[in-house]
């Protein structure tokens, strides 16, 4: 499902002016605090009527200011996870969760139990939201939106209040939503790891304007846009297929870039996954290193080099047909004589690929790494 968004709106001291198309899958809205992310999402939900704009969701016209059309929020079928949870104080947690289902004429079914379980909110069901902890509120808000059976999911920093362990449990579920239910999702987040894992597309906002937008893979692997997304999160995505789960807990994958060994991935053999490799986790060597703890050593060719303002450099590597990004110091770049065309070896530790950096391909099945490390 494609989502076309064109909006212009002015507040005193702030103006939003965006125009982009979100292809099926997860579109991450990325930007600094105050850049207009919530404003944008509110307009999609119908909670803000922009000065001008046009929003089309798979042919369904949600808004067209030229024709004076503006679908009211309740007919847009969006599931909105608010930045502030906005739970109904007069309803129990259970009633909050079932609120949207009631209008969708669905009851508490197996789906309900699954979400309760996933979000670990079963003990809260009969409580009022008033005295829930911050993270509990966030989880209930998430559950409420998902359970309302939306045709489009809007999530405004849904996981910001959650601990890493909880996030690691919820992310695969969101991937499944994206892939199985094929639910388009607009996802606001500051955490690049989440974005890189979930998002098919990234829209980078700054002061109400779209600074860059495009497929996540390209943006993150592009040395030109990576700094804007945060150097620490710069990295490229490799595609691969699960070959076998080995006895010592590693999974062997095979991709266009070559063979990979990663900590156990919870996907059956044959499934396609994508693996995010952070630029800072890639070490370069001129010769294949000997007895080292790194399991993945990929022959590569330097494709481009971009010197930073500081002591670092981003190196774009051609690994087979795919691109990999490496971040090294300028000193090392000089020492190794890196320049386009130079043949090197990319050294990559299996454990460096953190749990949330392996995910199902945008249209493949989800993949999950097992516990432990």
């Amino acid at each position: 499902m494609t989502l076309e968004i064109r909006l212009a709106h002015r507040f005193k001291g702030f103006s939003l002016d965006v125009d982009f198309t979100a292809p099926p899958g997860v579109t991450a809205i990325f930007g600094r605090s105050g850049s207009g992310k919530t404003t944008l999402i509110n307009a999609v939900a119908g909670l803000l009527r922009p000065d001008r704009g046009r929003i089309v969701a798979e042919g369904r016209m949600l808004l067209d200011s030229d024709r004076g059309l503006c679908l009211p929020p309740h007919r847009r079928r969006v599931g909105y996870v608010f930045q502030d949870a906005r739970l109904f104080p007069h309803l129990s947690v259970r009633q909050n969760l079932l609120y949207g289902r009631w209008f969708a004429k669905l009851g508490a079914g197996a789906e309900f139990d699954r979400i309760i379980d996933l979000l670990d909110i079963a003990p809260l069901l009969d409580r009022r939201p008033g005295a829930l902890s911050g993270g509990e509120k966030a989880r209930v808000g998430l559950g409420r939106a998902i359970l309302s059976n939306p045709a489009l999911l809007l999530m405004d920093e849904p996981l910001a209040a959650l601990d890493e362990a909880r996030k690691a449990e919820i992310l695969p579920y969101l991937e499944r939503l994206r892939d199985e239910v094929r639910l388009p999702i607009l996802y606001v987040s500051h955490a690049m790891a989440e974005v890189a894992r979930l998002a098919t597309t990234v829209v980078l906002l700054e002061a109400g304007r779209v600074l860059a937008s495009g497929p996540t893979l390209e943006l993150l692997a592009d040395p030109a846009t990576a700094p804007a997304l945060g150097l620490r999160d710069a990295g490229a995505l490799l595609t691969a297929r699960v070959i076998a789960h080995e006895s010592d807990g590693l999974t062997r994958l095979e991709g266009p870039a070559g063979p990979l060994w990663l900590p156990h991935i919870d996907a059956p053999a044959g499934k396609a996954v994508r693996v995010r490799v952070l630029a800072q986790d890639v070490m370069l060597a001129l010769d294949p290193p000997g007895a080292v703890s790194a399991l993945n050593i990929l022959p590569a060719t330097v494709h481009a080099l971009r010197m930073g303002e500081g002591p670092g450099a981003l190196v774009q590597l051609q690994v087979g047909p795919e691109m990999l990004l490496a971040r090294v110091t300028r000193r090392s770049a000089a020492a190794l004589g890196l320049q386009p065309g130079r043949e090197v070896f990319a050294v990559l530790k299996a454990v460096s690929v953190a749990q949330e950096n392996v995910g199902g391909g945008p249209s493949g099945p989800m993949a999950r790494q097992g516990p432990g490390g």
Binding site: L47, H74, R86, F88, H90, Y99, F103, R127
Partner: protein, 232 residues
């Protein structure tokens, strides 16, 4: 002085209860609507409506009663029309007493509900809308429960006011035992005759007891709601 109620007293108590109940119950929907209109909407003539609602508070009750008599009386334009088309007659009937009480209590009810409406966070209503609730449903499932304390406060004010209303009532529908003689009218009559005080005091105590019972009931309900919303 504390012997059982006489049949006349019973009738006055029953009538007062009936009048107050219907005055409160029937003006609630209008009170809600008016409070909403004043709190949320912007329309031409809003301030006129606002002034109109407050009028019964500003006018001496006898004036209100007199105006009611002129409008809703048998000879009054509205009264005659209602009688002709719907067979509803207020004149010298307990329904008239209820109308008078409702109108006198209306400003109190509207203000209480309006304060509550203004305190509702529209963000919660937005949230309900994104979950698929249309305007009326948002109102029924979110706004209404959230303003319940205000509605309750408005209703109890209206009920108490209706129990005590006298000036407009006696002017509009007179003081006919068993038909329009409410407790306050009965009290008034006793106060008008030499030596009527003990009976008047009896009735005052009865009126106070009835109204306070309603008041405490409403407090109790209101606390139960607050406890439910508050926590746990």
């Amino acid at each position: 002085m504390f012997e059982a109620l006489t049949p006349d007293e019973w009738r006055a108590v029953a009538l007062s209860l009936r009048v107050s109940f219907w005055a409160t119950a029937l003006s609630l929907p209008f009170g809600l609507l008016t409070a909403f209109a004043l709190a949320r909407w912007r329309f031409p003539g809003q301030q006129v409506l606002n002034g109109l609602v407050h009028l019964p508070l500003i006018l001496p009750p006898v004036v209100t009663g007199y105006l009611l008599l002129l409008t809703f009386g048998k000879a009054g334009t509205v009264g005659a029309a209602l009688d002709r088309w719907f067979g509803v007659s207020f004149a010298f009937h307990w329904t008239g007493a209820a109308l008078a009480a409702a109108i006198m209590a209306f400003p109190l009810m509207v203000r209480a509900i309006r304060l509550a409406v203004e305190a509702v966070d529209p963000k919660l209503e937005d949230a309900a809308a994104t979950l698929g609730a249309s305007r009326p449903w948002v109102f029924a499932t979110v706004t209404l429960p959230l303003i319940l304390p205000g509605i309750l406060a408005g209703a109890i004010l209206a009920f108490a006011k209706a129990m005590g209303e006298f000036g407009a009532t006696i002017t509009f529908v007179s003081n006919i035992p068993g038909k329009t003689q409410t407790l306050p009218s009965a009290i008034y009559t006793f106060l008008q005759v030499p030596g009527g005080e003990p009976q008047a005091i009896r009735l005052v105590l009865i009126a106070v007891a009835v109204a306070l019972t309603a008041l405490f009931l409403s407090e109790w309900v209101s606390r139960a709601i607050a406890r439910r919303i508050g926590a746990a």
